[in-house]
Amino acid sequence: MSPFKQQIRYESQRDLRFADEIMATPGCEDLGGCIQCGTCSGVCPLSIYMDHTPRNIINLARAGFKDDVLTSNTIWLCASCYHCTVECPKSIKITDIMYALKQRAIKDGVYRRGIPIPVLAREFFNMVRRNGRVTENWLATILYLKTDWLAMLKMGGLGLKLIRTGRFSFTMDHIEGREQLRKLLEPSSNNNTSASQGAKQ
């Protein structure tokens, strides 16, 4: 990675459709109304770890700096605590915007590599689509196998404690109505999120 980081953004880096595409997602319509007060960044328990604060992400998103936004760690550090959404003086559903950005980053395949959260989201999605339920320790095991073997070793002690306290599930749980679930999710299972609908406009 170059030691020189570009500090300004150029007009040519903007994707002028991006803001409209995000705003087409239910819950994200008010993106444009942000007054940049920074309340979201102030209340966010994770903003200090983010490469762009929530306020900054909102500004970059509505200006169309798609690449900055979708490759940021911000959207994946957001743990959906909804504090920003509740406190926003303009009633912008910032958590929903973060969800829309996560969906778009996964759909475009440009999510930040090297952090396991997008992989967790995808594996969670796959497990639920298949079984209708999540078995937490299986999900964690799959995640570590796919992202970080070393992390699994570090978590080995915790796994043993869960076994000892009877909180570990050895089998994978599933619902009876798996066929019904397949039918329920079928029309949209090809990942046609609202982001792609927005792109058609």
Partner: protein, 287 residues
Amino acid sequence: MRYSYFPGCSLKGTGKAYEESLLPVLKALDIEVHELEDWNCCGATAYMAVDESAALKLSARNLAIAEKAKDEVLAPCSACYLVLRKTQKYIQEYPKVGGEVRQALQNAGLEYSGNVEVKHPLDILVNKVGLDAIKKRVKKPLTGLKVATYYGCQIVRPYSAFDNQARPVAMDKLMEALGATVVHYPLKTRCCGGSLTGTISDVGLRLVYILLKEARKNGADIITTLCPLCQFNLDAFQDQIKSRYDDVTTPVVYFTQLMGLAFGIPESELGLKRNIVPAEPALAGKV
């Protein structure tokens, strides 16, 4: 009172102790619950990050099954509670979402017309059963037990309607009704970090450390919570936190476990053995 009980994945997995303590407490208060038939995952946080439309359909299947059963839904897990209520709101407020969800349900032979109430047990206990009735049921008051009430994030924000979003008090009042002393705990609605403890531990463990340290600093013997993910995060990583930062060992139990103890339900029937940081030393001599 009769409810469709929606356990969610955690109460059948790492959060078993929540179910084990909730059910006898409800029974002791003559609240009848039936597990929602063939319920599925609520969709939670991770599902919403991949496909919103699918997440809402998934969640709506549970609502459709509950509507058929003609009961209100009791959702003890904060994420389930939030997602089910959010789904209801989005189906109602966005005609396009509503249409898509109804179509998907129809494809699966289901129907949902919007007549289901989703409630949290804390809401039912404090606002419907009432603190007076709970006080009457207390056999062994938790006198002298200093409790930090940790609500976490998703139970109060943003779709909940039974308590203050910034400074909730329902669990505080409940603990006082059980005879316990509630300590000042300004971080009561601060996020535990969710899955970050397992994915980016540098960040996740720090958040949990701050929550535990604050409780200890304010004199808590024990932390009580109402969310399976909060309980897991605060309970399961304390040895890692000790080696990284500081010894802030504090047991973390579900509010229903403390209710059960105060009601005189034997400790062995309340899932207390499932704690990774044992609660017994903090409870000794107090229950």
